[in-house]
């Protein structure tokens, strides 16, 4: 039971970080970024390359720091190249699906070309095991469980208190009123992508420390993140976060009690039933 909850909270934490970035971009721009999973992978590789002796060998903390800086820039570049040219065109949602899918393929193959297909892993930030309420867990798992809510809390504060955070929400809620306050929509979109990529990078580092780093490591989490965003209610950050933890826990429980092969079936059954009852997701707004 304890082990199930730990596993659920770890995946929930990682899903929440990935999905909140996706949700933020959807809320502000109304587009889905299909390269979000590839960003996660890029973040993990940057952290590995800077930290690992096979790369620069500067140690884990330098790796994580480099990853965070790199991701902010990567998010901005991705926005400028793959999204900005189509803002304001009639089919922007569909066009951006195509451009970001293309971007994801490009990044995946680029990573394969540069780093090869051999599995890599990041060092763990903390090692050993800890025991809480009779449940033994890897210290790294505990760190993920603690760190994710801290980062999500920081994101919430950014959106509630800072000028750029408020601007992101304003554009999502009333584009014209936001422009009339002098908010530079272009700049705000750029900031949204940078923040979103930063969250993806952190998730990449977490996954890289717990599992493996491969060029395709972002695909599965991206799919989960889409489920989370739809399940939680499009554009609702609290909904997204609740949904992330719920899905993490459902997956963990069903893998343990029903079996890993039936887990997707169980997960999708729960999602479909809930979306039948609440078509806009847990905390979604009606259109």
């Amino acid at each position: 039971m304890g082990a199930v909850i730990v596993a659920g909270l770890v995946s929930g934490s990682i899903y929440a970080l990935i999905a909140s970035g996706l949700s933020l971009v959807w809320g502000a721009l109304g587009v889905f970024n299909f390269a979000h999973g590839a960003l996660l992978m890029v973040g993990a590789f940057v952290a590995w390359w800077v930290s690992d002796p096979a790369g620069l060998g500067l140690g884990l903390f330098a790796g994580i720091l480099a990853c965070m800086i790199f991701m902010v820039a990567a998010g901005a570049v991705l926005y400028v190249l793959l999204v900005r040219p189509w803002i304001g065109t009639p089919a922007v949602e569909l066009t951006v699906i195509m451009t970001t899918v293309a971007g994801a393929m490009f990044l995946e193959n680029l990573a394969l070309l540069i780093f090869g297909a051999r599995l890599k892993a990041l060092d763990q930030v903390v090692t050993g095991t800890v025991k809480i309420a009779g449940t033994a867990m890897q210290a790294q798992n505990l760190l993920v469980i603690i760190l994710a809510p801290v980062l999500l809390g920081a994101l919430a504060l950014f959106l509630k208190l800072s000028k750029h955070g408020l601007a992101i929400r304003a554009i999502a809620q009333n584009d014209e009123a936001a422009r009339l306050l002098g908010i530079r929509v272009e700049v705000t979109y750029l900031v949204t992508f940078a923040v979103s990529a930063l969250l993806a990078g952190v998730a990449g580092v977490m996954i890289g420390g717990l599992f493996n780093i491969t060029p395709s490591m972002g695909n599965e989490p991206l799919l989960r993140a889409f489920l989370v965003v739809v399940f939680g209610g499009l554009g609702s950050l609290p909904g997204t976060i609740i949904a992330a933890y719920l899905i993490g826990l459902i997956e963990a429980a069903s893998s343990y009690y029903i079996g890993i092969y039936w887990t997707p079936v169980a997960l999708f059954t729960v999602l479909i039933v809930i979306l039948l009852v609440r078509p806009n997701g847990l905390l979604g707004r009606s259109a």
Binding site: L166, A170, L180, L181, G182, I183
Partner: protein, 237 residues
């Protein structure tokens, strides 16, 4: 002159809505705009704020030519427009929306002092500060919208139909509060259907009709406004 509009033409797509409007607003002056719906009042305001491109003519603000400038550059100079308040920012609290009002650089560092001034004019907003905008009543929403505009420390504040759809009593309260806003030294441009309300607030009015200035009323004592009502809104008004 704080705002000068000269022979302004603009519109949407192939349709021209403004066919050469000229108007001016002095420093600290309040000017009213009225006229039938669909004759270009909102288009005029949207063009002045840079949301609709200028096709011909000039807009000057405090002597600077702002024709064709971006909305954020225009706002940066202190020309602030309060959008029609029906929605504002539905899922932000009143305090968040007000804080965001101070977005422009010149206003951001003064946001705490400005907030006190806004609360002094609209005490109701202070009571409602942690409520979401969508839960406000119609009158409170208008107050919030004007308050958000004031947070930007406007040199000129444009109000587009601030009393739209409000009950007469709230309309009176709001008119009084707009009067207080005028005393802050900002120039005001107020659009409203209620000519009596405009006459109470603004010494000078423009009647906008068919995309042109049909009439400028400079002296309200000479105004037979019954005549105007009859001429432009039909005898039933």
């Amino acid at each position: 002159m704080r705002l000068e509009v000269e022979d302004l033409h603009s519109g949407y797509g192939r349709i021209e809505v403004l066919h050469g409007i000229s108007m001016a607003v002095g420093a600290g002056e309040s000017v009213g705009l009225f006229g039938p719906n669909g004759h270009g009042k909102s288009t005029l305001l949207r063009t002045i704020s840079g949301l609709v491109p200028v096709r011909e003519g000039r807009v000057r603000f405090e002597g600077d030519d702002i024709t064709g400038a971006s909305t954020d550059a225009i706002v940066g100079k202190g020309l602030i427009q309060v959008a029609q308040a029906s929605t504002l920012f539905p899922r932000m609290t009143v305090l968040e929306a007000l804080t965001l009002g101070a977005y422009r650089n010149a206003a951001w560092s003064h946001r705490r002092e400005t907030l006190d001034k806004v609360f002094a004019i609209f005490p109701r907003l202070a009571e409602r500060r942690s409520q979401h905008c969508k839960t406000l009543s119609g009158g409170e929403r208008q107050m919030a919208a004007i308050g958000v505009g004031l947070m930007a420390m406007p040199r000129l504040l444009i109000l587009d139909e601030p009393t739209l759809g409000l009950a007469p009593k709230i309309r009176q309260e709001l008119a009084h509060q707009i009067g207080l806003v005028a005393e802050t030294g900002a120039s005001l441009v107020v659009v409203d259907q209620d000519v009596d309300l405009l006459l109470g607030l603004c010494p000078r009015l423009y009647l906008i009709e068919k995309g042109r200035v049909a009439l400028e009323i400079k002296d309200r004592s000479q105004l037979n406004h019954q005549d105007i009502l009859q001429r432009y809104f039909g005898s039933a008004a």
